[in-house]
């Protein structure tokens, strides 16, 4: 049986500038599948409705996955055989649903004079309407027989499979330009997704997070260890959730001051079965961190 949580906190820099939180997050758990999803609205001048865009990205994702699972037997049978093709189809459907939500929103909420006032006429005309809502998206889906994820733009997906190791399994799309954030609002968005698929390992827990979380860490080791520590506490999620929220708030305040969203899904039975393994990973990670620090502080020059 799956369980999960999700939370978004506002970054201190957005607080200072009076910008609303640009992130959205959600999770969904059913008997047969679970979804964790976060989205990070771009928040810059021309993306002036990206807080709404990120909410639409989350909604479009959940409704798309629901549609694919509507005929569960057929989906679970065909997916392992054609996962590349079906994942591409899912990406296209998410983009299509998001564009539909954006179109409806613009139709019902035309751009106001106040929103236009920040641009010259030429500048405003040059912006594609979907750009107002520009956002990233990171999605993890756990099924009974497989696990997969899709992503467009910044953000991170961490998974702990049955070996208890925290990993970032996303296979990054080399076609996406490295120096520009890929976005749901790009005209070629469907071609800019990254994805991963696993069916040989059972999933204990999976997390998606916006880049505000990753950039609040000094090393990738710490970032991965963080997810192992959370997984180790998921058995008592009701008590631990408040601690996670407080920690995310601290990171959004003292780190890079960006909004942070974290969404998690996990398999309760497998988590219980692997609880000792996860606890031993937490201890081992602590020792490895101490070893890395000792190695880092060794001097390598000729001294007096």
């Amino acid at each position: 049986m799956f369980n999960g949580f999700s939370h978004s906190v506002m970054g201190a820099s957005h607080e200072k500038t009076g910008l609303v939180c640009q992130d959205s997050s959600a999770y969904k758990v059913c008997d047969d599948y679970a979804v964790c999803v976060v989205a990070d609205g771009h928040g810059s001048k021309k993306h002036f409705r990206s807080n709404i865009g990120s909410k639409f990205a989350v909604e479009a994702t959940i409704s798309t996955i629901d549609r694919f699972y509507a005929d569960k037997e057929s989906f679970e049978e065909s997916f392992p055989k054609n996962h590349k093709l079906i994942i591409k189809n899912i990406q296209k459907q998410i983009i299509s649903d998001w564009n539909r939500l954006v179109e409806e929103h613009i139709k019902n909420n035309p751009v106001t004079e106040e929103e236009k006032s920040k641009f010259t006429e030429e500048e405003f005309e040059a912006i594609q309407p979907e750009s107002y809502y520009g956002t990233t998206l990171i999605v993890g889906v756990a099924g009974k027989k497989f696990t997969f994820g899709v992503q467009i733009g910044d953000g991170t997906l961490v998974a702990l499979f049955d070996d208890g190791k925290a990993v970032m399994p996303m296979e990054y799309n080399e076609a996406a330009p490295a120096n520009v954030t890929a976005s749901m609002c790009n005209s070629n968005a469907a071609g800019l997704f990254s994805a991963f698929y696993r069916d040989k390992q059972k999933l204990i827990a999976m997390f998606t997070s916006t880049d505000g979380l990753y950039t609040s860490f000094g090393s990738e080791f710490d970032f991965l260890d963080y997810h192992t520590i959370i997984t180790n506490q998921l058995g008592d999620i009701d008590s631990f959730k408040n601690i996670i929220v407080n920690n995310l708030t601290k990171r959004a305040h003292f780190g890079t001051e960006d909004d942070i969203s974290l969404s998690c899904i996990y398999d309760k039975e497998l988590l219980e079965e692997k609880s000792e393994l996860i606890a031993s990973e937490v201890s081992a990670n602590k020792q490895r961190a101490a070893d890395r620090k000792a190695e880092r502080l060794k001097k390598h020059v000729e001294t007096e």
Binding site: G4, V9, K28, I62, Y226, N247, H253, T256, D259
Partner: protein
């Protein structure tokens, strides 16, 4: 969206007014004693200061002794420099016949200890610049997930390079971290060539010269402290006309400010101690 099975969909929590009552420490609402997640610290925006130090044989004696002493004194001063939200790290590359990093990775200034250097060999500046180019990358020393300011790069040398420094400089000049980094150089004694140093920094304004132990101490402190102060400053990316400025504009503004401040501070220094080259 069908919400029947969705257990959570979130709007943001505002950090300015959270409910911390269950976990708050008395004075700091963001300090949680019972937080197992605090084992992985929160990283601030980081600034790496690269020191490139000539340890060739000609630095032996008073120059090296003075440099070691100044660097030991400097570390506590740099600790105070970073704005409260900046994590300052130090990387030291020594070059003589070989090039060597003092530590295998940039070290947070709070943990950094100076290793008193020894001088011998020739001046392989070109090899040092090549090595800097290799390490100054996201796959090398600048691999922290946290955001980084453009680095500060501070070169100190007392002689003419014994290898092809132009080849090393050419490689380095293609490195974006170098392009956007704040660069300064210190020539030590009569043999150091300020033109070469200006080639490295890109401007004579960010090159200074020390002819005595007293000057060396003053110049190192002026350059290191000023450049790390400017380097850790968040400069606005928009000007008065609210046009968005690019990274190149911010870099140019910072580098210009560094040149102005160094020249201003150097003009105020006074020393009457014995020049390095007297009796050398």
């Amino acid at each position: 969206m069908n919400n029947d099975n969705i257990i959570g969909a979130n709007a943001a929590t505002n950090p300015a007014a959270p409910d911390y009552t269950a976990n708050s420490a008395a004075n700091d609402p963001l300090d949680f004693d019972d937080d197992p997640l605090s084992a992985t610290g929160v990283s601030r925006k980081s600034l790496v200061i690269f020191f490139l130090i000539d340890t060739s044989g000609s630095m032996k004696g008073k120059k090296m002794g003075e440099l070691n002493t100044v660097m030991e004194e400097l570390i506590p001063e740099i600790r105070k420099v970073g704005e409260a939200d900046t994590e300052v790290k130090v990387a030291v590359l020594t070059f003589s016949t070989d090039v060597r990093w003092m530590y295998s990775t940039p070290i947070p200034i709070e943990e950094f200890e100076w290793a008193r250097l020894r001088a011998s060999g020739v001046t392989s500046l070109g090899a040092a610049l090549k090595e800097l180019n290799v390490r100054m990358s996201r796959n090398g020393f600048l691999n922290s997930p946290s955001l980084s300011f453009a680095p500060v790069i501070f070169l100190m040398t007392d002689g003419y390079p014994s290898d092809d420094y132009k080849a090393g400089l050419k490689e380095l000049q293609a490195n974006s971290w170098y392009k956007f980094g704040l660069k300064a150089a210190l020539g030590i004694g009569n043999e150091a060539n300020d033109n070469i140093l200006a080639e490295f920094t890109g401007s004579p304004d960010t090159v200074v010269h020390a002819y005595s132990g007293g000057q060396l101490a003053q110049m190192i402190k002026i350059i290191a402290v000023t450049s790390s102060q400017i380097g850790s400053k968040s400069m606005t990316l928009s000007d008065d006309t609210s046009h968005e400025l690019g990274e190149e504009d911010v870099f140019a503004a910072k580098q210009k400010l560094l040149g102005q401040q160094i020249q201003e501070l150097v003009g105020k220094t006074e020393t009457d101690d014995v020049p390095f080259d007297t009796g050398w």
